[in-house]
């Protein structure tokens, strides 16, 4: 990993060096509408979210739980196309300075063309890609394209990953490594696994300098707990639900509340 060359790594490091950590917020593009998703992402940043993870709706999202499935399915039914994803990135980055990474399953990138996707993401002002169903072993074309464009590439690390695979994830990732808190799919959980703390420790041993915890994180208390040992906390389904239920003001209120969790962090590292 090469921190310092990445806007995402820089944003995360700035919060960590100030004694806290980063809050990363996920929202799907095109939900509830394309402009609504852009406004919601801007509202997240205005409310204290440090990095935006913009989800690209996909027909077969095997890592996602019911809340994100429902939102992305609606986005697709309403006519979401990949070009709308780039439009959304451009619109968000023109309004706020927080970095925007795309979260996308792999086939849309393959069909769009890996190099063309990287170029268009870069041109739109995007910072990189999180690829939930692409492991570094299969990522040759993307490693090349991201090196060429300087885009970040975020691979996942799981509690079940071997030490060798954690090293591979750390070495292949740029921006941060996405530590999957618990075995399972996205969606709020009352407890974020103790497994997350162990995983972050193991990622540190593997050389990680930027590691963020996601899956199941939904409250300010969980954010505060995670930032005690990790560099960032990622919230997805809870934000999507608040947007679905309460619109822009609903998601803004939850983001503010979650951002409270980045204060008064007691770091144990």
């Amino acid at each position: 990993m090469t921190p310092g060359t990445s806007a995402v790594a820089t944003a995360i490091a700035a919060r960590r060096d100030a004694g806290s950590g980063a809050l990363i917020g996920y929202l799907p593009a095109g939900f509830p509408t394309l402009s609504g998703s852009i406004d919601a992402a801007v509202a997240l940043v205005e409310s204290g979210v440090d990095v935006i993870e913009l989800g690209i709706p996909y027909s077969d999202p095997v890592m996602d739980g019911p809340v994100i499935q429902a939102a992305t399915q609606q986005s697709l039914a309403d006519g979401f196309k990949l070009r709308h994803g780039f439009e959304a990135v451009a619109a968000i980055t023109s309004q706020v300075s927080a970095p925007v990474v795309m979260m996308t399953y792999w086939n849309p990138v393959v069909q769009y063309g890996v190099d063309r996707f990287a170029d268009d993401l870069k041109a739109a002002g995007g910072a990189g890609l999180i690829t939930p169903d692409l492991v570094p072993d299969e990522a040759g074309a993307w490693l090349t394209a991201s090196d060429r464009t300087g885009l970040d590439r975020v691979f996942l690390a799981a509690p079940t990953s071997s030490d060798a695979r954690l090293r591979q994830a750390v070495q292949s990732s740029r921006g941060f490594v996405y530590a999957v808190s618990t075995m399972g799919i996205t969606g709020a959980r009352s407890d974020v696994d103790a497994a997350a703390r162990v995983l972050i420790d193991r990622l540190r041993d593997a050389g990680a300098t930027s590691a963020c915890v996601g899956v199941g994180v939904s409250t300010a208390a969980q954010v505060r707990e995670i930032l005690g040992y990790a560099d960032g906390a990622i919230v997805g389904s809870a934000l999507v639900k608040s947007l679905a239920d309460g619109g822009i003001e609903g998601v803004r209120a939850l983001a503010r509340e979650l951002a409270e969790g980045t204060r008064d962090v007691v770091r144990s590292v």
Partner: protein, 403 residues
């Protein structure tokens, strides 16, 4: 070079492991345990004994001359996987993977199912081995294959009707993968076809290749020579790979896969993945799939729930790209006509899935002529399809249904 030694993760440009990192450890474990089991004579012996005394293998071959008159007079020989316990070839694979589950020490198995044949076979193995079993099935399929839902429940399995997406086989696979990601500690995923991430395409193929190995010897014994063509229906492609594999190096034997053409491969309603799709990534592997320009999976359509899948196994994609096997679409209408024809001419009611192979064989026979011998994989029996057939052919006694 032999085409029979390919063992993944890649078949040419196809295959791989496009899955969340959370599943990699489970796939690695399965791969390693399977490699050990493959070398273990005790594993082979136990599976062979189950085939003999539980499934009823070897399955017989049946020559069908009255049916063959409609196939240009070619000699047509059926490999009778329909006579297996549970009614299809699916049991061959399930017993292998169930034995592997026991070796790994997991106590819960999950499966996806389309027509319900793989679900029934998995529920059967769960009962036999005392494993907890959950089967994911698209809601649309639970309705059109209600009898198989009842069979699975009777066998003690929990059947989950999947209500997302197109509510068919592809969505059942998504939901089963989500379950596996969550419960991988105690759960093994018994995948039903030669698709999915490595090691499934190679492993399921290995468990199904007994079909072709038996049939090749049986046809040689009956006719004194190899068949001119081997045919099978292709959804994900497990029965087709199963019967093709033994013939891959017999260059004079043509291999024909018949895909579900639905309303017609040139309409929007079909499941002819190789004929009309293009390479992409779905359910953990790079293969052909039906997709739009953005890579979103397109919903497939077929009267046959078991073939109603927008993807196909990577080994088939490889065999198609190299030209070793050829693939053609067969419409719902042609398949149903063949379904009725085999029933009327030979007293054998085939599964609607297998009827696609029969319909393709009728055309192929006319092309090859009366000197040709065609071996057909009759992958399943049609008991489960009686309601669909009853409605299609208007066979149900409406009077009896009116109270």
């Amino acid at each position: 070079m032999s085409l029979r030694t390919e063992s993944g993760p890649y078949f040419g440009d196809f295959g791989g492991r496009f899955v969340p990192e959370s599943l990699i450890a489970a796939l690695d474990e399965l791969t390693a345990e399977y490699e050990v089991a493959k070398q273990d004579p005790a594993f082979a012996a136990e599976l062979a004994e189950l085939h003999r005394s539980y499934t009823g293998r070897p399955s017989i071959i049946t020559e069908v001359p009255r049916f063959a008159r409609h196939a240009g007079g070619a000699r047509v020989i059926l490999k009778r996987e329909d006579l297996n316990h549970t009614g299809s070839h699916k049991i061959n694979n399930v017993l292998g993977q169930a034995l592997l589950t026991r070796r790994i020490g997991k106590t819960r198995i999950i499966a996806e199912t389309g027509a319900g044949q793989h679900g029934v076979a998995t529920a059967t193995a769960a009962a036999l081995f005392g494993l907890e079993c959950v089967v994911y099935m698209g809601e649309v399929d639970t309705e059109r294959q209600a009898l198989n839902v009842a069979r699975m429940r009777l066998l003690g399995a929990e059947v989950v009707a999947v209500k997302t997406g197109s509510r068919t086989l592809k969505d059942a696979i998504n939901e089963a993968m989500r379950d596996w990601v969550t419960n991988v500690g105690n759960t093994n995923y018994i995948f039903g076809t030669v698709a999915g991430p490595h090691p499934f395409p190679a492993m399921v193929r290995d468990f199904q290749k007994i079909i072709g190995e038996e049939a090749r010897a049986q046809v040689l014994e009956l006719t004194g020579r190899l068949p001119d063509a081997v045919t099978a229906c292709v959804g994900g492609g497990s029965n087709a790979i199963g019967i093709f594999h033994a013939f891959l190096d017999d260059q004079d034997v043509a291999l024909w896969g018949f895909e579900a053409g639905g309303d017609g491969a040139d309409t929007l309603r079909h499941a002819a993945t190789i004929t009309k799709g293009r390479p992409g990534v779905l359910h953990g592997a790079r293969s052909f799939l039906l997709q739009d320009e953005d890579g979103q999976t397109v919903e497939s359509h077929s009267i046959s729930a078991g073939l109603d899948y927008p993807g196909v196994g990577p080994e088939h994609a490889w065999l198609a790209s190299t030209g070793r096997a050829q693939y053609r679409p067969v419409t719902d209408a042609a398949a149903m006509e063949a379904f009725r024809l085999l029933s009327r001419t030979e007293g054998i009611i085939p599964a609607i899935e297998s009827s696609h192979a029969l319909a393709g064989t009728l055309e192929l026979g006319k092309e090859l002529g009366p000197d040709a011998t065609i071996l057909v994989s009759l992958s399943g029996r049609g008991d489960k399809d009686m309601e669909t057939a009853g409605r299609y052919f208007d066979l149900l006694d409406e009077g009896a249904l009116q109270v």
